[in-house]
């Protein structure tokens, strides 16, 4: 029986499309409702922006949350995550994660810390701490 699977009976043909080659079954734009950038807040999340669950969050069971939103919320449950980690953990493209995070931010589910602006490197104390930390690794 099994060896016939590759040639397949006609009713099995449909499933042949869903292999890895075909790419994701759900297209990125479907997960974001066609949006390519986060909502009205207009925030562009840096890859190292840190996302923390808001303890006072209304809860992820609210309406309007898709499965991918919930995946992100679940990932944040254990610890604060960077945008890059969320993208890797959810196996979603960064662009999609940004849009979904925009939703979560607006809903008040998460808080997002912005990274230090370019012109303003962290102070010397922090750099020294980093060096000490690296030495101690």
């Amino acid at each position: 029986m099994n060896e016939n699977m590759t040639t397949g009976a006609p009713h099995e043909q449909g499933s042949q499309w869903y292999d890895n080659e075909a790419g994701p079954l759900v297209r990125p734009y479907a997960m974001t409702g066609g949006r390519t950038r986060p909502g009205p807040t207009g925030v562009r999340f840096d890859l190292i922006a840190l996302v923390t669950l808001d303890p006072a969050a209304p809860g992820a069971d609210g309406t309007g949350l898709g499965p991918e939103h919930r995946t992100l919320v679940d990932l944040c449950h254990t610890e604060t995550q960077s945008v890059a980690e969320l993208a890797a953990g959810s196996d979603l493209p960064v662009g999609v994660v940004r849009v979904l995070l925009g939703d979560l931010l607006e809903l008040g589910c998460v808080t997002v810390s912005r990274p230090v602006p370019p012109a303003q490197l962290p102070d010397e104390r922090i750099l020294r701490e980093v060096i000490e930390g690296l030495r101690a690794l």
């Binding site: 190292i48 890059a84 980690e85 493209p93 960064v94 931010l105 808080t111 810390s113 010397e124």
Partner: protein, 201 residues
């Protein structure tokens, strides 16, 4: 309201993440270096490129609107709770330059990995960071079998700005990688202080 915690004066309260880029030619060991020092297995993020990317990508005659993905490897080092260092291996191909702009925004600095057998591969990265005044160190990955050059020779060959550190390293070795990062953070600190002094004088 969008909550922002970009003020670092608070110190320990808001979690702080710093970003270091690892750049260099294809196959020079960027991911290896990230993996050697990272406390997590290097993770991979994908960025979807739309047509904008395709325009930049000047391949003659190819005008299909395909979305391409470009992968970036990254790792993390937790210094303490609330302070972590993220390392990003930059995409090797030149056609992804525009991604570098985003990556380098707010970066503490960069490591340019070089292979003395193909030193020219790291020229674009050196140019990029010099032009944008992003502190960087050149780390010469000493591949076994490659003729070893001293740091001064590499410094001269790359025509680096005075003071740019050149470090010999083994990208597979954790301690060696740590040393490279320490040199970079020290250098970034010096550059920053110098700039501060410049702006007040």
């Amino acid at each position: 309201m969008v909550s922002e915690h970009s003020d670092t004066a608070g110190g320990d309260s808001a979690p702080l993440a710093l970003k270091i880029l690892v750049a260099g030619g294809f196959g020079v060991g960027k991911t290896t270096l990230v993996g050697a020092v990272s406390e997590i297995k290097p993770l991979r993020t994908e960025e979807l490129l739309s047509e904008v990317g395709q325009l930049v990508d000047d391949t003659d005659g190819v005008d299909q609107k395909v979305t391409t993905t470009v992968a970036m490897d990254f790792g993390r080092i937790t210094i303490r709770s609330g302070l972590s260092l993220y390392l990003f291996g930059t995409p090797g191909q030149d056609r992804f330059w525009f991604l570098w702009d985003e990556l380098s925004q707010g970066a503490l600095g960069a490591v340019v990995l070089a292979d003395t057998r193909r030193l020219e591969d790291c020229f674009p990265a050196v140019d990029y960071f010099e032009h944008r005044h992003i502190p960087f160190v050149v780390a010469v990955n000493c591949f076994t079998g490659a003729r070893s050059y001293g740091a001064p020779e590499v410094l001269r060959a790359l025509d680096l700005d005075k003071g740019t550190p050149v470090v010999l390293c083994d990208a597979r070795d954790r301690d060696s990688g740590k040393e490279v990062l320490i040199r970079l953070v020290e250098y970034a600190g010096r550059m920053h202080t110098a700039r501060l002094l410049d702006s007040v004088s």
